[in-house]
């Protein structure tokens, strides 16, 4: 499929923004007292968030998981609001209730994040059911990891989605690890995509480090869903360049494996492609980088200057 230059530039941009965002968090989360909780980053996996979301319209919904930053930024979340939430500030998109792990951004149709592994899948089924029920021209995308594909919820959700031909795209980000466990230490199926057959739905394997490939596959799956063809299971092969979380020393990840995947960096890869094909100049690429840096710096400033919520605000927002 021919991917437009505009889309390619858009994807490059959201990947760069996402990486700058992560890179700043790598440092900030280690600075005592700045950011509470576990810090889980998507460094190296940006092509998945960017490629998928580039294929979506605003009305399309995403349901994401614990490794959500790249999904949300690509879908259009305000970096300030999510950075402030990561800082657990009152100005955060969830007033500090969520923190970094459960960012909920309904204003961009990313209404919930589940940090329960596999939790995003049944909810996505429900969200897609609502789209079908109301005959909306929109789909739901569900992000989850390779580890989540071993949870019972994966199985139940895919079966039900296929049975009812719901407009949902299941995007498995296979980053080779589930926590400290290598992919082949948690299942014997060679590809997660193979599991699609168990539900009578198409399963596709995508180069998850190439945004245009992810974009093209998503576009196709989305169209199929809109046409009433039901769900697709898309497995994006990628790699978790950092530890599970930032406190993980990666003692179990072979150094040369990490190095090899660093060489497949989705951002420099697409950047190089676009520069070489003349879509952008090297200067424009640099400009994108520095613009992203500025946006992230601004988001950090906003977050740091924002107040914490008041203790008793804890009692708000539970019941409607």
């Amino acid at each position: 499929m021919e991917v437009s230059e505009k889309k390619k530039k858009e994807m490059l941009w959201t990947m760069i923004l996402s990486r700058k965002f992560s890179d700043s968090l790598v440092v900030l989360c280690k600075t005592e007292g700045k950011i509470p909780g576990m810090m889980i980053l998507s460094t190296g996996q940006e092509a998945v968030g960017s490629g998928v979301c580039a294929a979506l319209e605003f009305d399309d919904v995403i349901i994401t998981n614990h490794r959500s930053h790249h999904h949300l930024l690509a879908k259009g979340a305000d970096p300030e609001k999510i950075m402030a939430e990561i800082y657990c500030k009152q100005t955060g998109c969830n007033k500090g209730k969520s923190g970094t792990l459960h960012l909920a951004v309904p204003e961009i149709n990313a209404p919930c994040t589940s940090t329960v592994v596999g939790g995003s899948l049944p909810i996505a089924v429900g969200r897609a059911f609502a789209q079908q029920y109301r005959k909306e021209t929109a789909v739901t995308v569900c992000f989850f990891g390779d580890g989540a594909a071993d949870e019972g919820s994966f199985h139940e959700a895919l079966n039900l989605a296929s049975l009812w031909q719901l407009p949902v795209v299941f995007v498995c980000e296979n980053n080779v690890y589930a926590g400290a466990q290598r992919y082949d230490a948690h299942t014997r199926v060679k590809d997660v995509a193979e599991r699609a057959k168990s539900y009578g739905m198409p399963g596709v394997i995508v180069d998850g480090n190439h945004a245009p490939a992810v974009y093209a596959a998503t576009l196709k799956a989305r169209q199929r869903a809109l046409d009433g063809g039901g769900p697709t299971l898309m497995e994006c092969k990628t790699y978790r360049l950092r530890g599970h979380g930032e406190s993980d020393p990666q003692h179990y990840q072979p150094k040369d494996e990490i190095k090899a995947w660093q060489g497949k960096n989705p951002i420099s890869r697409l950047g190089k492609e676009l520069v070489e094909s003349g879509v952008i100049t090297a200067a424009e690429l640099q400009e994108m980088e520095s613009k992203a840096k500025d946006i992230v710096a601004e988001a950090v400033r906003f977050a740091e200057e924002s107040p914490f919520p008041e203790a008793r605000d804890a009692l708000e927002d539970l019941y409607a």
Partner: protein
């Protein structure tokens, strides 16, 4: 007034709400075509009335059913799902407890999850402990949920209609023993607010706080005690959370004596919550120790004499009353 079993009252509430609001749909195992072709059951005839778009038979997949409700509710639909028997709540509990109950809070109040989880519950069917296990205390311990347990057909209708219109996730537990008892039910658009207990019998000597299937036991015992001029006040909670503390405390203030009666096993049951609330806020009214009359701390056994032993009856209640009078 029409007379209906509790299941039929649920059926009527579902029908009325589905007519009123196109966002209401139902889903679950056998809610459309079921193994019982019998009008006493709650979802009888709804498929014929509303069609397969709104009456969704699902595979045997409790987590997916609950997730369906969570996602659809976020979108503004009003799902009413069914968990066939209370023990299977376990299989849906991640979706209900970690998601339905928490996601609004996690969104900072931006999203709502207006869904109802109907659960069939209760001992007395000889089906044993993997089908009979009263777990209302689990749901009542989860902030973000509301827990409703009607004891009469009229309450079931009025409370279910309110539950469906409520913008929060509501756990609605039906005691199957009540499906077979015909009771009067208002024919109109009858609503009972959630969070309000009802004095089902006034009395001055003794307060019995109860809910669901045990109301009948309380009423029978009260009748007998009345023959000895002991007047029992029966507080039917109807809603466990939010708990109507005022009604409980007012009754204890009047009588000075409290028995909590529930079918669930004793230790960790919701009876403890009632005890704690009264001990905290009504201590000065109390003239005697508390008694809890509950299922014993065992799984529900299948054999009739054992199951009968499990389920609290009038005699257990009367004996407890005598101990504190």
């Amino acid at each position: 007034m029409q007379k209906l079993g509790l299941g039929q009252a649920v059926n009527q509430a579902l029908r009325e709400e589905m007519h009123r609001d196109p966002n209401v749909f139902i889903a679950g195992e056998g809610v459309g075509v079921g193994i019982h072709d019998n009008p006493v059951f709650p979802t009888f005839g709804l498929l014929e009335a509303f069609g397969p778009e709104r009456v969704k038979d699902t595979p045997v997949s409790e987590a997916a059913i609950a997730g369906l409700a969570v996602g659809a509710a976020e979108a503004g639909l009003r799902p009413v799902i069914e968990i066939m028997f209370n023990p299977f709540f376990t299989l849906a509990s991640d979706m209900i407890v970690n998601h339905a109950a928490k996601l609004r809070y996690l969104s900072g109040g931006k999203s709502s999850f207006p869904l109802v989880v109907r659960i069939k519950s209760g001992a007395g069917f000889g089906a044993g402990c993997q089908h009979s296990h009263n777990l209302e205390a689990w749901a009542a311990h989860c902030p973000g949920l509301k827990v409703v347990m009607p004891a009469t057909s009229a309450d079931a209708k009025g409370l279910l209609k309110s539950a469906i219109r409520d913008d929060n996730p509501v756990i609605f537990i039906e005691h199957m023993g009540l499906y077979f008892a015909e009771m009067p039910v208002p024919e109109d658009d009858y609503l009972i607010p959630l969070g309000k207990a009802e004095i089902k019998r006034p009395g001055k000597d003794l307060t019995v706080v109860t809910w669901s299937g045990m109301l009948g036991v309380a009423m029978k015992a009260a009748e007998k005690l009345s023959q000895e001029n002991i007047e029992t006040e029966i507080v039917d909670l109807r809603t466990l959370t939010p708990l109507d503390k005022d009604t409980i405390l007012a009754s204890v203030k009047k009588t000075g004596r409290l028995i909590v009666l529930h079918e669930a096993t004793r230790t960790g049951g919701f009876g403890g919550e009632i005890a704690a609330v009264v001990m905290e806020q009504g201590f000065k009214y109390l003239k005697a120790p508390l008694r809890r009359v509950t299922g014993p701390d065992i799984p529900v056994p299948a054999s009739p004499p054992l199951e009968k032993f499990f389920i609290p009856d009038e005699d257990n209640l009367i004996q407890a009353a005598r101990e504190i009078l």
